[in-house]
């Protein structure tokens, strides 16, 4: 259970320590990729809570979404269409939906466990 948290910490440390300098134009793609990653992460958490979690779907979705978002943004820049806005919108909306779903599921679980406790008493 601690391995993923440990991995997250290592990743953050790496991110802070690595002194890579990418051109300013590409920071847009990075932020969209981050958004996609967040979306996938919360999607995964929700799926886990709903007992729908599939590792292959999660991991493939994680990387595929990142690449797709960045690729869409890239394509949009080169086509003159602000496709990255679409990506941001979609991922943003889904992010909120996922978080809301997680909240609801947690509340539900919490209330069920309380009822159980009451019954037990």
């Amino acid at each position: 259970m601690w391995l993923p948290v440990f991995g997250l910490l290592i990743g953050i440390a790496l991110g802070f320590l690595v002194d890579l300098d990418i051109p300013h134009e590409y920071s847009n793609y990075l932020s969209i990729a981050v958004l996609a990653a967040f979306d996938t992460l919360f999607g995964g958490i929700r799926a886990h809570l709903q007992n729908l979690y599939d590792e292959v779907v999660f991991v493939s979705g994680f990387f595929f979404n990142i690449v797709l978002a960045a690729g869409l943004a890239f394509l949009g820049v080169h086509l003159g269409v602000d496709l990255y806005l679409a990506a941001i919108f979609v991922f943003g909306v889904r992010l909120f939906q996922n978080i809301a779903m997680i909240r609801r599921i947690l509340i539900e679980k919490w209330s069920i466990s309380r009822k159980k406790q009451k019954k037990n008493q």
């Binding site: 391995l3 993923p4 997250l8 953050i12 440390a13 790496l14 991110g15 590792e55 991991v59 994680f62």
Partner: protein, 230 residues
């Protein structure tokens, strides 16, 4: 257990990637924002500074220009003065050359002719009827005194160191012999020259008293050639 481990490792890898991306993005955004604002501000500051520097320099150059212009105008004044001086000098030179007989001169003037007197009395001394060098001297001196600018005897111009000597029946002017009659021409104000010779008890009277035939003629145009080898 192995399967679970594999899942955990994969999840951990995903977490590493996620953490890295988040941190990196955060870092980049922070850096970029600061750098961008700093850049713009710095650039503006630098440009302003440059402008100020340039204006300062312009001011200084303007001052320099003013100073230089003053200097130039001063030099020009000096030049003008110098020019005037040169002009005067040139005029003086011309005048002096004229006096020295180095240049051709022409102008109106007076012509005096001295002829030997006619000897009516055979017993009288013939010397009393001849034109002597002192007569010529007197006339020449009087002419110079009354403002003649150039004088010539029988067409031979006199200069500052001319000499006139009596040599029997002829007189010698600067080594050239001239017989009577002597035509003494002078450039100058003919009226003044004539009047000064004509004074009562003046040269004319003296010469006439010494039996010399004295004729005076005002001329409109007298030309003296420069003295060659003078």
């Amino acid at each position: 257990m192995g399967k679970i481990d594999g899942r955990r490792v994969l999840l951990s890898f995903v977490c590493v990637v996620l953490g890295f991306m988040i941190a990196f993005s955060y870092n980049l955004t922070k850096d970029n924002r600061g750098v961008r604002e700093d850049k713009a501000w710095n650039e503006e500051y630098m440009l302003r500074q440059q402008l100020i520097e340039q204006e300062k320099q312009n001011r200084q150059f303007q001052k320099e220009l003013l100073q230089k212009q003053e200097a130039v105008s001063k030099i020009e004044q000096d030049l003008a003065q110098e020019k005037q001086l040169f002009f005067k000098l040139a005029k003086d030179t011309e005048k002096f050359r004229m006096y020295l007989g180095k240049v051709k001169v022409k102008g109106k003037g007076l012509q005096v002719t001295l002829e030997d007197g006619t000897n009516s009395d055979p017993e009288a001394n013939v010397n009393n009827y001849l034109v002597h060098e002192q007569h010529v001297f007197k006339v020449v001196n009087e002419l110079y005194i009354s403002g003649a600018e150039a004088v010539a005897i029988n067409g031979q111009r006199l200069n500052h160191d001319s000499y006139i000597i009596c040599n029997g029946p002829v007189i010698t002017v600067d080594g050239h012999q001239h017989p009577a009659p002597f035509i003494i021409s002078a450039i100058g104000d003919a009226d003044v020259l004539g009047d000064s010779l004509d004074l009562p008890g003046g040269i004319k009277e003296q010469l006439v008293n010494e039996n010399i035939i004295f004729t005076m003629e005002k001329k409109k145009n007298i030309i003296f050639d420069p003295i060659i080898g003078g």
